[in-house]
Symmetry: C2
Subunit: 186 residues, 2 copies
């Protein structure tokens, strides 16, 4: 393969620069040699955390969900605490910060679970997912547009909320199902 | 509450109109009465499908994954077949179409699993998730920028790929873990 045929960016045009996200229209060479234009939302990435009030390996541990107004859904959604990385911020530091800001809790221990692309067809956003244990209650520090309340539940009940369609947020579904499926095997 | 205090859109400015996505900058009233600006990617929604080569309730059924080049990841990702809704297209029709186009398979039966928001902080995209059974092999019809290969595996092996970080696509993680956790209980 000639060097100029490598897959990747041929050219990139910034179509919009925003407060949270930016939009690039990139001319791209694909691995099969074809070229095309792609709209790509550039996102700094985010961390999300499943807060455990009991040991992760406990029988049906209690966890904390937040119920948060989401303009995109015109509704309140049940979610795990999460937020985007500040410039230069490490994913674990972000997870601790968002947990504290949104719920007031600080975590004695933070365990990485996985990292995933939220919707790779049009954004490079990745979410770093953690389990938080050894929680110590404190005071939340919400931003003015964050309207949320805490909801403590058993993991099994949260899984039933996924099965029943009450939990509709992707990262929350991944966090809870991942925790239920894989964290006890460690 | 006065009518003008209802949460919702105060004004909306289309900042970018694209082929796949559009970007609105909306001035929003939140349920607590505060107002703010939000960047919101408008997306028509999508369907995704877990293709089962065996009965869903079989012990460790075989499923089909696709391995697809994703510019957002600069890499190949393992995914379930998926794609966005055409104008006026029903989610189940979209799921059948994408399954056929990406894998060649047609499904005798399509069972709705759930619907979720991929990343509701900045987009209204929802993915409608189905299980497909009774598969009949045919010929795929790929678009010029779709570079993918099929990967048949056992559901248990796919779950191990999630646990090990080999599967990094959110909708695929949700589809496989949802199928493993909830479809046998029906």
């Amino acid at each position: 393969m000639e060097p100029e045929e490598k897959p990747g960016t041929i050219s990139s045009r910034r179509a919009y620069t925003g407060r949270v996200i930016s939009l690039d229209v990139d001319t791209v060479r694909f691995p099969n040699g074809t070229t095309g234009e792609l709209e790509m939302i550039r996102h700094p990435g985010a961390s999300a955390v499943v807060p455990f009030l009991d040991e992760v390996a406990a029988a049906d541990p209690r966890i904390i969900l937040i119920r948060q107004y989401r303009y995109a859904a015109s509704d309140y959604l049940f979610e795990i605490p999460a937020g985007r990385l500040d410039a230069g911020e490490a994913p674990d530091a972000c997870a601790r910060r968002e947990l504290r800001e949104e719920t007031g809790y600080t975590a004695a221990e933070l365990t990485p679970m996985t990292t995933f692309y939220t919707t790779p067809g049009f954004t490079d956003e990745r979410i770093h997912l953690f389990a938080a244990t050894g929680l110590l209650a404190g005071t939340a520090e919400l931003e003015s547009d964050e309207i949320l309340e805490l909801h403590t539940t058993r993991l099994s009940a949260a899984l039933s909320m996924i099965a029943g369609g009450e939990i509709q947020d992707g990262k929350t579904m991944i966090g809870l199902m991942f925790a239920a499926s894989f964290t006890r095997q460690g």
